[in-house]
Structure formats: structure tokens, C-alpha cells
């Protein structure tokens, strides 16, 4: 954890991986522009009022060298004109700010949905994300793949969100503001990333013990990448005879009560869908890189990465653990 001077540099702040001042989609952009206006206004108010305060404190400090130090200063009880002026001016500022704000609220929340929009259903779970693509027949977890949106032919992604248990909040700062994910309620938000790449985020509403490790990865794919990804995800799980033993271990243990692997007897819904788990870059909702060693550790003892995660330790012997790890790593 070396601390370099560059950590303090402004570009680091502005271009952080999850900085709200580094927007890359329309909702985040319009918030950014509005926030610059708000910052300019509040900074001006601070400079004027703070400057007057500072001046008054220095100018009107008690000076014992004053010839009339013993006397009280002139008592002034008030002035209606002055009160009126510092009531009316703030009202005007408030009205202006309100109108600018209302415009962004309506343009974001009431944006017309183009027919080319991609639909994704987001379901928050303690402590992971489920993503379903109803029109594409795909279910995946924790790593969301969406389309880059070209402003000339916009392909925004509409996220229809609800929760399976407690409240969560979907927050990927460079794409959009957060939207809460609430049980018994459906919320909708949209994003349209303008450049391809990875956008990071995480759950922003306290949802229980492992709220901190409910991380989000959003991949904005080019159309070609996305088509390939979709075709791959629609395949049933890989059948590799060299890991048949691991598959048997998986199917004869409690794993199948919570996890689905398409094309097998595993149809559980409490935990993430593992059909293509090996195609993801992280496990345990972003807590650890997706390596064989980490999978083995996680299956053996989920609390190693996520104390409080709802998956119980599986108590497999070393042989079975190795077999099931080998099986999972083939689920590309």
C-alpha cells in the first residue's frame, strides 16, 4: 500500500474507476452537467458569505488599544429592507436551481424508450446480483453484459429491477445515478454507455452482513462482442467427460438445491446460475478473481472471501473438492 504523491493529484480524483465526475453514459452525463452548475452556484455563495464573515471577524475584533474600549458598540436592532433583500435573493437562486433540476429529473425519468432498447431484469439477492435477459433466454450473475450505445442509433439498456429479499441499490457511478432495488416493487432505470469496456459499481443500500462485497461489473460490449457473448450464453453447459466425477459430486450434493446448471439436474434458484460460471472473470460477486484456487477455497469455505455469505461450507473431502473445482472451471 505505497502512497505516492500522484494519489492526491486531481486527475486521479476525476478519472477514478467509479468517479461520478468521469461520466460515460447519458444519465451520468446530464447529472454531471447539472452538478457543475450546482457546484458553481454554491461555491459563489460560499465565497461571498464566507468572505463577508471572515472580513467581519477580522475587522470587528475587540481592540484593547481603542480609545473608547470601555464603551459598548452602537446597538443596531435590525432593518426590514436588508431582511427583505437577503430573503428575495436566495428565493431567486432557489427558483433557478429548482427549474434546472426539474429539467434533468424529467429528461432522465421520462426519456422515451427506443424500440432497439435491450431489456434486462435485475434481481438483488443477499449478497449477489441476478441478471435475466427475458427476450434472449439468458440468466447470469454479477457480471452484466450490455451494448455500447451509438448516439446515432441508440441502443440503451433498460434495467427492470426488484429484490428477492432485502433492499439493495444498483450503482455504477460512471453510467448513471443509483436506483434502489426493493422487494415487492419494480423500479426501472436505463443506461447507454458510449465506449466499450468495464464499468465498476456495487450495492449502495445496506442489505445485510455482506453488503460490502456485493460488487457489480458491467461490460459494455460492441455489437459484435455482444452477439458472440449472447450466442455463447444460450448454449447449455459444457459437457466435458474428463470432469464427469466432479459433475457427479456437484449433482449428488446440496449444490443443486441453490444453483442452476442448464442441461443438468441442477435447477436451484437461491444462488447464482453457474451454467457459464467459468466465462466470468470473478467469483462471489466480484470478491475474488475467477481462478481454480479461488473456486476451491470458496466452495470449501465461502466465509474465506465473504464472511456472512449465505452459502454454507460444503464440507467436501479433498478429493471431491478437487473434482468439483475441476468441473466448475470447465463451465466456460
Amino acid at each position: 500500500m505505497a502512497i505516492g504523491i500522484h494519489d492526491f493529484a486531481l486527475p486521479n480524483v476525476v478519472h477514478g474507476k467509479t468517479s461520478i465526475f468521469s461520466p460515460d453514459a447519458t444519465p451520468a452525463h446530464s447529472i454531471f452537467s447539472l452538478s457543475m452548475l450546482v457546484l458553481a452556484i454554491t461555491l459563489s455563495i460560499f465565497l461571498v458569505v464566507g468572505g463577508l464573515l471572515l472580513y467581519a471577524i477580522i475587522r470587528y475584533r475587540e481592540r484593547l488599544s481603542d480609545p473608547d474600549a470601555a464603551y459598548e458598540p452602537a446597538q443596531i436592532y435590525g432593518s426590514n429592507q436588508i431582511e427583505l433583500s437577503w430573503t428575495v435573493i436566495p428565493i431567486l437562486i432557489v427558483v433557478m436551481l429548482f427549474l434546472a433540476t426539474a429539467r434533468v429529473i424529467y429528461s432522465t425519468e421520462h426519456a422515451p424508450k427506443p424500440p432497439s432498447a435491450l431489456d434486462v431484469t435485475v434481481i438483488g439477492h443477499q449478497f449477489w446480483w441476478e441478471f435475466r435477459y427475458p427476450k434472449l433466454g439468458i440468466t447470469t450473475a454479477n457480471e452484466l453484459h450490455i451494448l455500447v450505445s451509438d448516439p446515432r442509433h441508440p441502443t440503451p439498456t433498460y434495467l427492470t429491477m426488484s429484490s428477492a429479499d432485502t433492499n439493495h441499490s444498483f450503482w455504477v457511478p460512471r453510467l448513471a445515478g443509483k436506483m434502489d432495488v426493493i422487494p415487492n416493487r419494480i423500479n426501472v432505470m436505463w443506461v447507454d454507455p458510449t465506449t466499450a469496456g468495464l464499468y465498476l459499481g456495487q450495492c449502495a443500500q445496506y442489505c445485510g452482513t455482506q453488503h460490502a462485497k456485493m460488487l457489480l461489473r458491467v461490460y459494455a460490449d460492441t455489437p459484435a462482442e455482444f452477439v458472440t457473448w449472447v450466442a455463447h450464453q444460450r448454449q447449455p453447459a459444457a459437457q466435458d467427460s474428463s470432469v464427469a466425477e466432479g459433475r457427479t459430486v456437484f449433482e449428488h450434493n446440496a449444490c443443486i438445491s441453490c444453483h442452476t446448471i442448464a442441461g443438468t439436474v441442477a435447477t436451484g434458484r437461491f444462488g447464482p446460475n453457474l451454467t457459464h460460471v467459468a466465462s466470468r472473470s470473478t467469483i462471489a460477486s466480484g470478491s475474488a478473481p475467477n481462478t481454480a484456487a479461488n473456486i476451491r477455497t470458496f466452495v470449501d469455505n465461502p466465509a474465506h472471501f465473504k464472511p456472512g455469505a449465505l452459502m454454507p461450507p460444503m464440507h467436501l473431502n479433498d478429493h471431491d473438492l478437487a473434482a468439483v473445482t475441476a468441473y466448475l472451471t470447465t463451465l466456460k
Binding site: 486521479n12 441499490s169 422487494p183 443500500q205
Partner: protein
């Protein structure tokens, strides 16, 4: 007009009692007392005790967050720490300490001998105190049959359905519910008492328009408490029905509503913030004029602004819910109501500025804390405007920016003004002055620690760090800021310890204060320090807002100008 003047003389013939009382008698005296001053002091002492406890919890939180992937505490312990820190600071530090000062000062300032209902006053204190003990008893009894004990870990908002039996087994949430319920009963009792006292017990000549602004503000704050504590209490009872009698009001698994709880909580929670900050305004209204040697500027505007804040604050609660998907119409309404509050609040800041303008500022420790309050409250108000801009809040809400904002209000505003009030009224309460030398050390250390912690804390929020996470990824660029924030917390701790030392040391060794050490203008300075149990030997009568000014300047009394 004839000028009526208060009678400062004390006709106390009982001061020279023969022997020191036994400790048991002292204890008996404090436990059974109905004297508003002793109850006020007990409120303050009890709040200071919990301030140290909840401050220690904050310190543990900051140690855990100083570096990424830290394992200083487990996630379970961390979640309990921030829940207990928040609940304690709001319900068992801020509320009691503010009620303590109110209890102590209001009868003295309006020339009364006690509160309207002395026994209700004692009851309110003890029931609140019991609430705090119940909250902490959860550490021993909170898990019920599931284990030895654990504090609640649902956050101080206790959002449904995290509080449902399914997600919160054991009894820790019940301890939280009952503790908040009891604290609410105490608050309602004291609020009722303050309203009645202010309406009925003012001394001759003290019209409403001559009341010290502190008393005005406590009146408004107490009226607000009636409106806001009731939904909180109702919500706690509904939660208990859910948990024990099978109702499903907030149980989303059975069709209940999570958002309903949010509305109930925040219709309490946001006015509550004003209930807490108004007494800080109250202290500023008394302290800034005395140390600027000028009458408060725009007394009627100050009263109007207070009442305005009281009303508008009841219509802003859902700005805590901009991200729950209320829809554009509701979001727009709450943007407008929240921004409106900036107007009366701005009036207050401008009036304080005008009070200082043209004065002769005395830089006592008390005044220095008050000046710190002015700057910090200005900044807190401006970040509040940012958060009232709903789209900005979609990004900043629930991030460390919000945590920095409300700590700026509560620490930079309320706590600074509270320290100011301690240095100002401690001589009245104990008869001894607090050490100014230690006070200056306290001020500068706390000021530096405060700014290091809470200025910097805005930045990780802008960089996307959500609140209530027990650890964070190393690659996000949040570490350096968190490290600075945590080091500031250490400096603040040293400042607070110096303050506590000053409180204890000055009680025994401080300079003797006399009745009126600050050359003050309100009635509490006309009686001895500490005041006799009956406050005033003869009930004073007043002819203006500053009775002691009239007494000291008979050639130019205030009522010529009011």
C-alpha cells in the same frame, strides 16, 4: 415608558449548612430530584457518557476503514458498530444533551422557578435514560436463545425488511425498537413540559415578543417533536406487531411494503435533524450577540425564520428517498420543498453576520467555537443544497458524501455550538470558569481534526464509495482519503479528551465565576452561579428582550427600540 428591572439580589439564608452530606444522601437527592437544573445536568452528564461510548464506536469504525481489506473487526461487528454509533448519537447523545441545556436554561431565562411539570420532567429523563441502557443491554441479551448477545445490526434507519424475523432473528432488533420507543416517550414528555412552561410560566413583562430567542427556538423545536415522534413511535409498534403478532405491514415476503417504513421513518427522521440543529441555532442566538457586544440583528426575522423552518421541515422527508423510484412528480416536489428550507436558514446566517458586523468581538473559547459553527454550518448548508438536487443525489445519496454532509451538520454545526454552550454556561452551572487555556487547545485540535476528517470524507463519496461497507477494494483509489479521514478522527479524540479533562478539572480548580462572568443580558445571569434551587428569590419582571442591558444601561434601555 417606565422601565421595569429584574431583582438580581438573592435572599438565600441557607448557604452555610453545617456539615457535608453523606454520599448516600447526595445520591438520594439526585435520584429523587425534580429540580429542573439537576435534571438538566443529569441529561447532560448522561449524554456525555454516551458521547464517549459512541465516539469510541466511531473510532473503531475508522480504524477498520483506514486501509482496504482490513480485518480489524468482522463484518458482523462492523455492522453493529455503525448501527449503535448512529442510534446512540442521535437518540442518546444529541437529544438528551439538547434537552439538558433546555431544561436548565429555559426556566432561568424566562424568570421561572421550575418547569411546569417537575415530576413529568424527572419521569421523562429516567425513561429516556432507561432506553439507552436497554439499547446497550442488547450486547448481553440481544440474541436471546440464539446466543449470548449481540447488538442490533440493522442500521439506525432499520429499513424493512431487514428488521423482519426472517432477516433479523433473535432479539437485538427488539432491543433497538424498545429503546427508541422509550426515548420517544421521554422526548414527548419533555417537549410537552417545555411548551407548557414557555406558554404559562413567563415572568411579568416577558411577552412572547420579549422572550430570549433560545426560548423561542426551544418552543418551536418542542412543537415539532409532537408531530415527528408520533410516526416514529407508531412505526416501532407496527414493527413489533410484525415481529410478534403476525401482521405483515413491512413484511415484503407476505405482501408488506418496504417503502412504507421509509416514509414513517423519514417523516420523523428529517424534521428530527431540524429538532437537533434548532437548539444549536438557539445557543448561537444567545452567545454571538454577547461576545459581539451587540443586540441580535433582526429578532422578528429570526423568530419568523425559526417558525418557517419548523413548518417547511415537515414537508421535506422524502428527499431521503430520491432513489426509491417515487417518480418524477414526487421527486420534483421534494426537491422544491427541500430547497425552500435554504431561505429561512440563509436568513439566520445573514442575521448572525449582521450581528457581528460593527460589534467588538471577544475571542473567548465559546465565541471561537461559535465562529467555527458559522463557517461549518454554511458549508453544510451548501452541500445540503447539492443533495437536494435530486439527480445529484442519485449519485451522492448513500455514498460517503452524504456521511460527510450530515456529520458536517451534526459535528461541525451542532457539536461545535454545544462546545460553545458548554464554555458559555458552565460557569453558571458550576460556579467555576472552564480553563480558557485548555479550551483554546481543545478548540484548535478539534477544529483541525474535524476538517481533516469531514472535509476529506466528501471525496471518497464522489469517487463512488458507498456508506456502511466494512471494507473496500484496494483498486478503487479510496485508500488515501480514508487514511486521512481516520487520522483526523484520532486528533478529534484527543480534543474531546482534553475537553472532558477541562470539565472535571475546572469543577475543582477553575476560577470562581461570579453571577455574570460574560457581562450577559438575559435573566440567568442575574442570579447566583450556580443558582439556588428556587432560581430567583424574587420573581423578576422585565421591560425588554435584554433585561440586564436595561439594568446596566439605564440611560439607553432596549425598550426604546423594540
Amino acid at each position: 415608558m417606565a422601565t421595569q428591572t429584574p431583582v438580581p439580589a438573592v435572599l438565600d439564608q441557607t448557604t452555610s449548612t453545617a456539615c457535608r452530606p453523606m454520599w448516600l444522601e447526595v445520591l438520594h437527592d439526585w435520584v429523587t430530584t425534580v429540580d429542573h437544573k439537576k435534571i438538566g445536568l443529569m441529561y447532560i452528564g448522561y449524554a456525555l457518557l454516551f458521547l464517549v461510548v459512541a465516539g469510541f464506536e466511531a473510532l473503531l469504525i475508522r480504524i477498520q476503514l483506514a486501509i482496504p481489506n482490513n480485518t480489524f473487526v468482522s463484518p458482523q461487528v462492523f455492522n453493529r458498530l455503525f448501527t449503535m454509533h448512529g442510534s446512540t448519537m442521535i437518540f442518546f447523545v444529541a437529544m438528551p444533551v439538547l434537552f439538558g441545556f433546555g431544561n436548565y436554561l429555559i426556566p432561568l431565562m424566562i424568570g421561572a422557578r421550575d418547569m411546569a411539570f417537575p415530576r413529568l420532567n424527572a419521569f421523562s429523563f429516567w425513561v429516556s435514560a432507561f432506553g439507552g441502557l436497554l439499547l446497550y443491554f442488547s450486547y448481553f441479551g440481544g440474541s436471546g436463545l440464539y446466543g449470548a448477545g449481540s447488538a442490533p445490526d440493522v442500521g439506525w434507519w432499520a429499513y424493512a425488511p431487514l428488521t423482519a424475523k426472517a432477516f433479523s432473528p433473535g432479539h437485538s432488533t427488539d432491543y433497538w425498537t424498545l429503546a427508541i420507543l422509550l426515548s420517544g416517550v421521554g422526548t414527548i414528555g419533555t417537549a410537552l413540559n417545555i411548551v407548557t412552561t414557555v406558554i404559562c410560566m413567563r415572568c411579568p413583562g416577558m411577552k412572547l415578543s420579549r422572550m430570549p430567542l433560545l426560548v423561542w427556538i426551544y418552543l418551536v423545536m418542542s412543537l415539532m417533536a409532537f408531530v415527528t415522534i408520533s410516526p416514529l413511535t407508531a412505526a416501532q409498534i407496527m414493527l413489533m406487531l410484525d415481529r410478534y403478532l403476525g401482521s405483515h405491514l413491512f413484511d415484503t415476503q407476505a405482501g408488506g411494503s418496504a417503502v412504507l417504513w421509509m416514509h414513517f421513518f423519514w417523516i420523523f427522521g428529517h424534521p428530527e435533524v431540524y429538532i437537533l440543529i434548532l437548539p444549536a441555532f438557539a445557543f448561537a442566538n444567545e452567545i454571538i450577540p454577547v461576545f459581539s457586544r451587540k443586540a441580535i440583528f433582526g429578532y422578528p426575522a429570526m423568530v419568523a425564520a425559526t417558525v418557517g423552518i419548523g413548518f417547511v421541515s415537515l414537508s421535506v422527508w422524502a428527499h431521503h428517498m430520491f432513489t426509491v423510484g417515487m417518480g418524477a412528480g414526487a421527486n420534483t416536489f421534494f426537491v422544491f420543498s427541500s430547497m425552500t428550507i435554504a431561505v429561512p436558514t440563509g436568513i439566520k446566517i445573514f442575521n448572525w453576520l449582521a450581528t457581528i458586523w460593527g460589534g467588538k468581538i471577544r475571542f473567548t473559547t465559546s465565541m471561537m467555537f461559535a465562529i467555527g459553527f458559522l463557517f461549518q454550518f454554511l458549508i453544510a448548508g451548501l452541500t445540503g443544497i447539492m443533495l437536494a438536487v435530486a439527480p445529484f443525489d442519485w449519485q451522492l445519496g448513500n455514498s460517503y458524501f452524504v456521511v460527510a454532509h450530515f456529520h458536517y451538520v451534526i459535528v461541525g454545526g451542532i457539536l461545535f455550538m454545544l462546545f460553545s454552550a458548554f464554555y458559555y454556561w458552565y460557569p453558571k452551572m458550576t460556579g467555576r470558569m472552564l480553563s480558557e487555556k485548555l479550551g483554546k487547545w481543545h478548540f484548535w485540535l478539534f477544529l483541525i481534526g474535524f476538517h481533516l476528517t469531514f472535509d476529506i470524507m466528501h471525496i471518497p463519496g464522489i469517487l463512488g464509495m458507498p456508506r456502511r461497507i466494512y471494507t473496500y477494494e484496494a483498486d478503487r483509489g479510496w485508500m488515501i482519503w480514508n487514511l486521512l479521514v481516520s487520522s483526523g478522527a484520532m486528533i478529534q479524540t484527543v480534543g474531546v479528551l482534553l475537553f472532558v479533562y477541562n470539565l472535571v478539572r475546572s469543577y475543582f480548580k477553575g476560577a470562581v465565576a461570579g453571577a455574570d462572568p460574560w457581562d450577559g443580558w438575559t435573566l440567568e445571569w442575574s442570579t447566583t452561579s450556580p443558582p439556588p434551587s428556587y432560581n430567583f428569590a424574587v420573581i423578576p419582571s422585565v421591560g425588554s428582550r435584554r433585561p440586564l442591558w436595561d439594568l446596566k444601561h439605564p440611560e439607553d434601555p432596549d425598550n426604546n427600540y423594540e
